[in-house]
């Protein structure tokens, strides 16, 4: 009976595959299990966000989004990402240039150190900055005396966000820089191009999709970070709330529509991120080695 399920066929219609093909019943069962699992953990939660946000109609939904406190949270989230993402991308470019273009002792250790923020719990990440820059700490106390507040204020939120998104751009750029190789850049330098000229005209075009990919990943995490930001924010209403913090406050106050309306915006951002990721992934590694004449014209131009 399962022969009717034409769409359940094996990936390639290769007669040799019959020896390695799974019986139709097994195939059907495994696909069913996989779909059930993903449905339970991915598709139902996403559907629930929109269902909850729209439970009292579109009018209520829109009202929640243009609420002044919601708008102020959206503004702070955008501002935080606008600072954290460029800084970490700049770091990613510098780190990938140093690591992929030169040999030096301790390179492996440096790569491990760059990964550290991935293995630090967001709560601990936020706490580090409270210990270092809080009013009771030496540095934080000194800054406070000079009128600079970092913890329980916006700079703390930005710092915590920079920490949690720190490795994302570098992690994407390092393997791409390594894969592209340095022949084109060496040719440009030998032909008399300056360092910046080579970087802007040869390196950047080669890694531009990888750069964008790193930016997209970094941005998604920067706008969505909750734990680390929660520790350093101090929850001052309408002042130091990012979107994820605002969601928490609304939810705990039983303003479910408001919480889920802002959540739906972040869900749309997540879906847009996944789509961008899908299209960028295939373009990340450029076609290797263009003709030497093309490099010449690039440098001469």
């Amino acid at each position: 009976m399962f022969e009717n399920f034409g769409w359940l066929s094996q990936s390639q219609a290769d007669p040799r595959k019959s020896a390695t093909a799974d019986p139709p019943l097994v195939r059907f069962a495994l696909i069913a299990i996989a779909m059930l699992f993903l449905g339970l953990f991915l598709f139902i939660p996403v559907a629930a966000v929109f269902a909850q946000a729209l439970q009292h109609g579109l009018g209520e939904y829109l009202k929640s989004i243009i609420d002044p406190e919601a708008r102020s949270a959206i503004r702070l989230t955008l501002m935080t990402a606008a600072i954290a993402v460029p800084l970490n991308v700049l770091f990613g470019v510098a780190a990938s240039w140093a690591i992929a273009r030169f040999d030096f002792p301790g390179k492996q250790t440096l790569l491990t150190l760059i990964d550290i923020p991935f293995s630090v719990s967001p709560v601990i990440a936020g706490m580090m900055f409270v210990l270092l820059l809080g009013v009771r700490a030496p540095i934080g106390g000194w800054l406070y005396d000079h009128g600079i507040r970092i913890i329980f204020a916006e700079p703390g939120i930005v710092l915590a966000t920079i920490f949690v998104t720190f490795p994302l751009a570098a992690r994407e750029l390092i393997p791409i820089m390594q894969a592209v190789g340095s022949e084109e850049e060496e040719a440009a330098i030998v032909l008399g191009a300056g360092g910046w000229q080579t970087f802007l005209r040869v390196t950047l075009p080669n890694v531009k999709w990888g750069l964008l990919y790193g930016m997209v990943l970094c941005n998604a995490r920067a706008m969505g970070e909750f734990g680390a930001v929660s520790v350093v924010s101090g929850h001052i209403r309408g002042h130091t709330n990012t979107m994820p913090l605002y969601i928490e406050i609304m939810y705990n106050d039983y303003h479910y529509v408001a919480a889920f309306a802002v959540s739906s915006l972040l869900t749309l951002l997540a879906i847009a991120t996944l789509i961008a990721k899908h299209f960028l992934e295939r373009r990340v590694i450029p076609v290797p080695q263009k003709g030497a004449d093309e490099i010449e014209t690039k440098v001469a131009a």
């Binding site: 019986p23 996989a34 690591i99 150190l113 719990s121 734990g227 994820p244």
Partner: protein, 275 residues
Amino acid sequence: MASKKNNVLPGFNLTLGFTLAYLGIVVLIPLSTIFLKTFTLTWAEFWHAVMSPRTLAAYRLSFGASLAGALINSVFGFVVAWTLVRYEFPFKKLIDVMVDLPFALPTSVAGITLTAIYAQNGWLGRFLEPHGVKVAFAPLGVVVALTFVGLPFTVRTIQPVLEDLDVEYEEAAATLGAGRLQTFARVIMPALIPALLTGFALAFARALGEYGSVVFISGNMPMRTEVVPLLIMAKLEQFDYAGATAIAVVMLVVSFLLLLGVNILQRWSSQRLAA
């Protein structure tokens, strides 16, 4: 200075200098404050903070639920990776893209939506609670949240290894008279073990540190549904910085050991692939 291959490229000092300075300011100096802060504690204070009954209960829940989540993800992540690599079915591309959702979805959004689904009147909670299965505001909810956040790790570590697995070995096994199950157990599984272990360790490590999605679904009852990151948060809110730091140091050491384990696993698997 350090270029061994007669490098003509400029910018080494500039880029490495910036990299190290940025790494130091953003990561290493803040991280070191945690360890420095613990040195201000006496042994007795440290021991009291990391071994109090409430802390022990939090370790038990954190490790137990993370372990359960990572195991669930290993089994079902394998099935998902297998179907995505080996079979054709409708919307496969879309489903493949969606697997990364837990990476992209903010944890607070995941937390409130999972809570809404499994609450007493939620889409799934209304069917589960009459049968005595309490998910939201119970330890099971913590497992659900930690399974969600770890899901992409197992799928995405197993999937590429399955894609690279040469079908010829399976054909050879079949030719030599092995049944499909035997081929699976003797040919496919051994090749996948490093990836399975790596995916498991990554999902486990991610789950241990998770805060955002758990804080909503767990109900945060001390001794019962309080995971370690929540306990640290609770201590911070009471300005018990010393206690919070002591527990944080324990968790950091565990995380770094896991990271080390993952690195060793990855080296092992790349050696096996090369062999």
